[in-house]
Amino acid sequence: MKIQLIINGYKKELEVRPDEYLLDTLRNYNYLSVKRGCDSSSCGVCTVLLDGSPIASCSYLSIKASGHEITTAEGIQKEAAQISTYFGNEGADQCGFCNPALALTVYAMKRELSNPTDEEIRDYLVGNLCRCSGYVGQQRAIRAYLEDTL
């Protein structure tokens, strides 16, 4: 069946199966920044923004998303690049598999929370698992990014 999505600002008509999850749809249509790490909304690497709010695309039916706005890392290239310089400066870069989703979530958080505390940042990002960095470098980087850009 066909659904309509606004992906990164562009209207798209996509062919999907009724039981298809958004993660598969997006990867099928070459939005490859969206990664698969599990299938139970528990790792966060498939995060995309639905009307600006983070969701786990691995567990979100594509037909349910029809008519909505989807943002992937391909849609926030400038911000992702900017956030990455902070990661680079804090030794927070490693395999990068969690990073496009993390950049999206930080981007959403920045619009949602003004001046969040360390604890609020961790709460907001708790669903974004990372097995490489040990998190503390990411936290330093995100702190610095927010301080410089808020």
Partner: protein
Amino acid sequence: MKNVNRGLPSIDGKGLMMGIPAYTDDLADANSLIIKVLRSPHPFAKINKIDTNRASEINGVECVLTYKDFKRIPITRAGQGYPEPSPHDKFILDNYVRYIGDEVAVVAAVDLQTAEKAIKLIEVDYKVLEPVLDFEVAYDNKTIIHDEPEIHEMFPIGFEPKKNVAAAYDMHVGNIDETLKNCDVVYEASFYTQAQAHVMMEPHTANARIDCYGRLVIYSSTQTPYHVRRIISQALQYPLSKIRVIKPRVGGGFGGKQCIHGEFFVSAVTLKTGKPSKLVYTRKEVFESSFSRHPMRFDVKLGATKKGILKGIDVSVLSDTGAYGEHALTVFMVAGAKVLPLYNKVDAVRFGGKVVYTNHTPAGAFRGYGAIQGNYALESAIDMLCEKLSIDPIIFREKNMIKEGESSPIFKIMGEGTEGIEMNVESCKLDYCVKRGHELINWKDKYPFVNGENSKVRGVGMAIAMQGSGIPYIDMASAMIKLNDDGFYNLIIGATDIGQGSDTILAQIAAEVLETDLDKMIVYSSDTDLAPFDCGAYASSTTYVSGNAVVKAAKNMRKMLIKEGARSLDVKEEEIIFDGVLFQTEDGKKSITLSELSNRLFYSEDQQQLVATNSYVGTKSPPPFMAGYVEVEVDTETGVVKVIDYTAVVDCGTTINPLLALGQVEGALAQGIGMTLYEEVLYNQKGGLITNNLMTYRIPTRKEITNMNVEFADSYEETGPYGAKSVGEIGIDTPPAAICNAIYNAVGVRIQSLPVTAENVLMGILKNKEKRNEK
């Protein structure tokens, strides 16, 4: 120095955060057949009959493979030196299944739905056999897990399959029984470590295609592309020369991708159908059907004099390799080889035991590779011995631990799977690490404990650790540097970047030798057709072994450049001064830029392509060292333990990139803390994995890991590239012992079995209370 010992961002960090397609599945052919694997529901069974007719008949199913489709060739999936010190005890597919999740059959279909449908239609008649689910009864059990006649060891590793023994090892120095008898104080205890899952964020992924030259091209999320090529060739009896393995960006490995996984199946399917195919493990498959950390039991005896001189260490180990013996012997040996030399002044050491098969998910390589298990046992026991002696555990360690310039007989006796190499530790700032950590965590005000709010008590604990830098005389790495017109270079390396940043630090090293900017050193790595050999990313070898290969290759290039510079200026080589940009004579009268020279070499005179190649194999494995200090908070009402602060002072020589080294240590500490407090692979009584998703298997989130304080000691390893040793694993080793020591210091409860659970801590607290009341 402008490129090394400098914290630069990793060269791919930005692109990866922007989501540029770079990982294995991002690069799969869009028309790939989708592969699904039928997996065993039984921990141990013989396949009496397998009927694939109904599955094969479905429209869209391109091929169904069972054991009948493969030649019976025993292999090991362990990616390590060849011949491997792991038993060849695995067939791509077999008529026996040995754990729940073991492979039974493989389906390739046009899409996932069809493949999943076909999988369900394969009919298997199993003869269910009695499994071995407890590693402490595996030895000489009436169930023999590997009874197949073809399996074998490549050289003596103590392989005794009829007794469920994958490998065995024993060594001793001096007379331990005699030594312990003469000690004033002896401490004896057993410790258990659990299986841990790697949980790299990118699941095991592979895809294959036939290229226009008719060759098999495999993309794989692997740590060892060259071993993949060799093992695939052996297992499928397909010429090595017709296989190309490409490792794209990898989403984490930690040892979990050091073993072969889906590469067999994509290769077999693509060779059979001629069509591209791909396989991405589900998270359940990653948990159930890849590898985990070897669980171990340690029986430890330590003896010392009243004055606090450690005299003897006696360690007997039992290790559980699960259904197959990948890395069985080497992980076992590292539990001694990279732990025991910490206390090099003892009169006697004994270390030995067995690695047994069980019908659980196989164990394999995992960061720390035995050292974390051994460290937990020894460093816990040392603290208990100190308590018996009434000696401060830090003073005790300072007295007994290894120091710069010293050696240990262990280095010579124990290697990885074979004998080791005699060496002195020329760089060892362990004494500084211990002192500095002591200061940073403010030990003197906090030891052993401070009462916190309400029912909470805060305690501090510590442990020291060492690892290695590659495997001497076995692990080889090589590098190739090519000059381009306009004066920039390609650095082409076999080294395998799995997220740890090796592409970046190796480029930094090459740029340093050639005095150029990092962005003029273009890296391409891990492609078996295009890059020179490198054993891969394991054994903490990349910085040291691959780094040294890069230094050598870059020095060759420098020589070539000076020769050509001199020729172009018509002077002698000795007269040339080259600063990375300009060649000139001492008097400055004659000069040519690198850019001009390279253009000349390409287009006008003395035309030639300059390529420099070199390789390196270590003659020693200088250990990185560290001291780990932790402050924990124990809730005496609930038993819940929280890490308040983890302080690590690390001697990994001079870091090539302090920022990336920092990330290595922080990430490893988090995995070590995870293993200590949160993570455990659990099975039910039938041998089924309970922890087969990320909700039942919990890795730390950013809520649990909040405070770390990592520093590097000022250290320089003469034999390392620009003074560096490796740093990939050392960070994971101390958390189990340090945290358990801190818990003991806080509430007097000794945890002898990992992970630490609130129940165990609380039970210990209650027991202590009872004892006090009795008094």
